[in-house]
Symmetry: C2
Subunit: 156 residues, 2 copies
Amino acid sequence: MSTEALIEQLLSDAADVSGDSAVATLHALLDDSTIEDDAAPIGIAEAADLVGLTPHTLRYYEQQGLTRPGRDASGYRAYSAADLRRLVFLARMRLSGMPMRELRRYIGLVEQGDATTGERRAIMIEQRERIRRRVRELNLALAATEYKIRTYGGHP
Amino acid sequence: MSTEALIEQLLSDAADVSGDSAVATLHALLDDSTIEDDAAPIGIAEAADLVGLTPHTLRYYEQQGLTRPGRDASGYRAYSAADLRRLVFLARMRLSGMPMRELRRYIGLVEQGDATTGERRAIMIEQRERIRRRVRELNLALAATEYKIRTYGGHP
DNA sequence: CTAAGCCTTCGAGCGCGCTCGAAGGCAAGA
DNA sequence: TCTTGCCTTCGAGCGCGCTCGAAGGCTTAG
């Protein structure tokens, strides 16, 4: 099951993202073991498919310094398990509204090694704040939208 | 759910009383019932201030056919209570991720009169789905982000 | 041997939603 | 009267995140 499919499944468990099955699915998504370490590297089309992006976008991310996949004998990109895990992470962070700029900064720290985990954590905490704020905005807009719907439903 | 309920919801989000949420609070409080119908029209700067947009943006919205404020003796835009209510609505819908395109379509229907309320309602229902979906995405990303934070916190 | 279909690089273009600057009009205070 | 400051229109520019097309190379099927 591809990441995209997993996300689809999660989103369609509409009732509760906090429910047990959703959490289990999420762990599957987050857990490294979902992508086997010893799997053979795959081509760009397959990788793109797996994470729900296009080959164009994957090349773009690489050009932006977010990934550095290996190459096969023909010079084609070869995405390893680690590369795929990073792509999954990038896709999820983009989806949550994290700007490319921040992602570049974060990946830069990752490539500098363990000494930067503190700073990385800080970035993720900022990111959490961004998401929470956005959720609050959306709940407000949702209330307004439901008000409109109800208004059209009967009594103006 | 009118102003009262929105306020209640705001209170439940009361954790952060930062500037950003002040804007959200303003938007909520400016629900239709809080703008008095007989208030004198106001200038573009004041209107922009009131709804948390810039005069540039207000002119842009007008150029896009979303508003049609009156003019004073000097040819300056004069936003009436009705104009302001519409601006508040537009701002809230934009904030919730409704595309300009949809908003143009919706306002077009509004200007066609009462015969279009059914179609308008349908648009708002689509919009509700968009928001709900986005909230679900964000909750998912939030869980992933918190997982990262926890991981850096100590036990990998 | 050829053609299909994937891959490569590079640079340009696009859709969105603003955002800004230029050039000038009008109003009110020192 | 002059200056300050907000207003007008118009069109261009920008930041983001892709998205696409051109021109060509490798590989496999027929």
